[in-house]
Symmetry: C2
């Protein structure tokens, strides 16, 4: 059975973007490495992480069988040009599907009947692989609905002071987590917490 | 020269206490260990941490030469009964010294002329040892004044959802930190970040 993992790069003070949606400091680790390009699932996207981070990326990206995104991130990224770097089907939670979507054959599904439906559809698509949630707002809704199995925080050594928090307005808090797995990178510390049941 | 380290136990979503000043989940690691009592600098205070956490406590507590507290924490703890668990002199930043302080001989100094003065006095008292800041509000003031050398976060596997944030209203953000040292514990991950200069 597929597990559902909420994964974001987050500043030490809890933000996943600055107040202008900027992620420069938060995504520095994707280019903080050496000369070797790290392949992703998308030929147009290469990272230049440290060796440790490359190992993690190359383990985790192929383990993702489906992604869940909010509409805001989808719009900000222009739908990743129809192909997310993880190269998995994307389920976009939205009230209304985009009118003009220039990639009708891309594996994108617009889900308008809530996060439970998005998670069910993503799990069906993922099979034995994981479902990754890449959105703070969807993560909040899924945590409150008890749908999240683990939280993967790529913790970034910066204090942004303001911005978009990863965790906010949780109706179901406090939420207890298990001790994390920890992997050190360059300009990032990778922490994966199972949500206690 | 003494270094200044801001140190707090913080939830994954950034809080150092819940909205009622509760720290039950955040301090669980102090009692999440085995049968062996861990000595502190105060005979009246014993921890029961895991072995790894005990090692950290026994390394770091004696390395602290002075503490800086805010008035709020001082009041909440009743001034630690005149003796902080770390057993170092305490400099309490406050507008007015308490009227009735039942431990006049205890190594407590009430500083009413700001954080720069408190840091200078604490450094003088600490000698070669470190100065520890145990207050979110004082940490904020010291970060904005460029007085903090390192941030030590004891990161707790819980989402509190609400409460008192460790980092808020930082005028000097973004503040870049170095890659942290990482030590795993039970119900805590110890992260120490140098503040980039």
């Amino acid at each position: 059975m597929s597990t559902v993992i909420a994964n974001m790069s987050m500043s030490l003070d809890g933000y996943i973007a600055d107040r202008n949606d900027g992620v420069q400091e938060l995504f520095e680790w994707y280019t903080a490495g050496g000369d070797v390009a790290v392949d992703t699932g998308n030929d147009d996207v290469k990272f230049r992480t440290s060796d440790d981070d490359a190992e993690l990326v190359q383990e985790t990206f192929p383990s993702v069988g489906a992604l869940i995104s909010g509409r805001r991130l989808f719009d900000l990224t222009d739908g990743w040009g129809g192909r997310h770097p993880v190269d998995a089907p994307v389920f976009v939670v939205t009230h209304t599907a985009p009118v003009a979507w220039p990639h009708p054959d891309a594996p994108f599904t617009f889900v308008s009947d809530g996060v439970e439906s998005a998670v069910a559809q993503a799990k069906a698509a993922a099979g034995e692989k994981t479902v990754a949630i890449a959105s703070a707002d969807i993560t909040r809704q899924c945590l409150d609905a008890g749908l999240v199995d683990a939280i993967a925080v790529d913790l970034i050594p910066v204090l942004l002071g303001d911005g978009i928090p990863f965790f906010a307005n949780l109706a179901s808090a406090p939420i207890r987590l298990e001790n994390p797995t920890v992997r050190k990178g360059n300009r990032v510390t990778h922490l994966v917490y199972k949500v206690s049941k």
